[in-house]
């Protein structure tokens, strides 16, 4: 049986706001969440949902109002556990008087990486994040995307067992995003646990074993990506060659669009046979029929809309 990499037990955060700091503002409602070792876990939610608050609580940057957590089997407030944890904050900023190489060495020193290993490890990591050629340049001359790469480098420098990334794709170009995705997969293959927050659902769908959705500081759903996206909606997508849409198919209530010389139509599952018959009658070449599955985006939007409706009813 694998050990849970992260166990969050009723962690919550309320800030006191206003001039006299007497008005409570809830940033995170009691959160219970378990992340297994070796998985890539996506923490999804719109901006301001509570993702960064959760990460800051786990990193000890802010203190919880209530609740606790365990990481790699130890209490999250134990400073020593952080030697096995990597963290990339959102829109990271680093000491810009240092070069990328010096910065990694410095973080290595603070994480307790032995002096002998640091130089070699810095070379490896800079190669991994694509900064080897500019390792001697001070960070004040780095672009946002380059800083993001340095941030990823410092998070994995000390070979942590558990890595937290807060919006890791932010500021990266398409190539950079692909490289980060590959890097996360490499980390998983190396047996590491990756916990990353994002509001870019395609990244989560492509990478994650499981995801959690958070909105307005409250957990709205959690599960394996394939479970969340496998539910069939009772519709099928029919694809055929040409640009003609037979009137009989339109009559079935199909939603369709023509791309090049292909037509894609979505219609109720029970109309599938009628549609095939219509295509045969018109001697149109059928390319594919596939059941329409819920995408992560559909699931996400549905969860958020349900939360909005509930909130509206309570109000």
């Amino acid at each position: 049986m694998t050990m849970a990499a992260i166990e969050i037990l009723g962690l919550e955060k309320t800030y006191m706001v206003g001039f006299w700091r007497k008005r409570p503002k809830t940033a995170l409602r009691p959160l219970n969440l378990t992340v297994e070792e070796g998985e890539i876990f996506g923490f999804l939610g719109p901006n301001g949902a509570g993702k960064t608050t959760t990460l800051k609580l786990l990193m000890g940057l802010i203190f919880p109002t209530a609740g606790s957590a365990r990481m790699l089997g130890r209490d999250f407030t134990d400073p020593e556990i952080k030697a096995q944890i990597g963290f990339l904050p959102e829109q990271p900023y680093f000491y810009d008087h240092l070069t990328a190489h010096e910065l990694l060495e410095y973080y290595g020193q603070l994480s307790g990486v032995p002096a002998k290993k640091r130089k070699q490890r810095a070379e490896e990591v800079l190669q991994q994040v694509g900064l080897r050629d500019i390792q001697g340049v001070q960070l004040r001359k780095f672009s946002k995307g380059m800083l993001q790469r340095v941030g990823i480098g410092q998070a994995i420098f000390h070979d942590p067992k558990l890595v937290f990334f807060d919006e890791p794709m932010s500021g990266l170009d398409p190539m950079g995003r692909r490289e980060v995705r590959d890097l996360m997969e490499q980390l998983k293959l190396a047996g590491k646990t990756v916990f990353f927050s994002t509001h870019i659902l395609s990244d989560a769908e492509a990478l994650c074993d499981r995801v959690a959705i958070i909105h307005r500081g409250e957990l709205r759903g959690v599960g394996a990506v394939e479970d969340l996206t496998s539910s069939v909606q009772g519709k099928v997508e029919v694809i055929w060659q040409g640009t003609l849409v037979p009137a009989s198919i339109k009559a079935l209530g199909a939603q369709y669009h023509v791309t090049g010389d292909t037509v894609r139509a979505v219609l109720p599952e029970n109309q599938q046979d009628a549609a095939i018959d219509a295509l045969r009658r018109e001697r149109i070449r059928l390319i594919a029929i596939t059941p329409v599955r819920t995408s992560l985006e559909d699931y996400f939007v549905e969860k958020l809309q349900r939360a909005e409706t509930t909130a509206g009813r309570i109000a």
Partner: protein, 258 residues
């Protein structure tokens, strides 16, 4: 001392050097060489007195400006720029961060004082063409200036741990000015009555007594410094800096980094 404190201190020192803080030495060198040439021409028999007074006062003022303006940003700048996030997400205790920052800034100031001291002695040699045994007293004045900086660094860090850089600068500079007149404040407390006396006495003993560290004038007149004063000032500076640093740690340990 924890290795992490040493690493944080080294990085603070390196940051100050690369941010060209030590460039103040150029201004100091220009000031002192200009002053030496000038006093050599206009003063009769008091060149040495003027150079020692001017040199040591400049060492102190340059250091005070550096201590306050770097010290006030040591914590707040790290929070504002979020560089602290990647430090505290490592096995670094918050107190280690504060203490490391303190030693980094103190180290910067000591190096600064070292180079300025070379300048002072060079200017002294330029005007008097020789050194005498009494010139060694300048080391005592420099030592007191360093002790003064330790207190000021710890105060700047204390304010930086809960306040904005601007307010921290105002607080630290105000305390420096009030502390420079601490003896007068104590004198006033002795003469006052009732509640005013109680208040003035409290304030006089709470603010750092920087006036006890100012021996520049007596050293310029080649008057010796009592060993008891050296011991007293050393213990006082260590106690005051430790208290201020403890306050900074206590505040910072509880602070949410938004």
């Amino acid at each position: 001392m924890s290795a992490r404190i040493v690493h944080i201190a080294s990085n603070t020192f390196r940051e100050a050097v690369r941010d060209r803080v030590l460039y103040n030495l150029i201004a100091f060198a220009l000031l002192l060489s200009g002053a030496s040439i000038l006093v050599g021409q206009i003063s009769i028999d008091i060149e040495k007195l003027v150079v020692i007074n001017l040199g040591l006062t400049a060492v102190s003022l340059f250091g005070v400006v550096i201590a306050i303006f770097i010290g006030i940003g040591l914590v707040s700048k790290e929070i504002e720029k979020r560089t602290l996030y990647t430090i505290l997400s490592r096995p670094v205790r918050r107190w280690e961060f504060i203490v490391g920052k303190f030693f980094g800034l103190a180290g910067t100031l000591v190096v600064n004082v070292f180079f300025m001291a070379i300048g002072v002695f060079a200017a002294l040699f330029y005007v008097s063409h020789k050194f005498i045994a009494a010139d060694a007293l300048i080391f005592v004045a420099l030592y007191f200036i360093i002790l003064e900086f330790l207190i000021l660094c710890s105060l700047a860090l204390l304010f930086s741990s809960f306040s904005s850089p601007l307010l921290s600068a105002v607080f630290a500079f105000s305390l420096f000015v009030i502390g420079s007149f601490a003896e007068d404040l104590r004198g006033f407390a002795g003469m006052a009555h009732g509640f005013t006396r109680w208040l003035a006495t409290g304030a006089a003993y709470l603010v750092p007594n920087f006036s006890a560290f100012n021996v520049v004038s007596s050293i310029a007149h080649e008057q010796p410094v009592a060993a008891q004063l050296i011991l007293h000032n050393t213990l006082y500076a260590l106690f005051y800096a430790t208290m201020a640093l403890s306050g900074a740690v206590l505040i910072f340990e509880r602070r949410n980094l938004k």
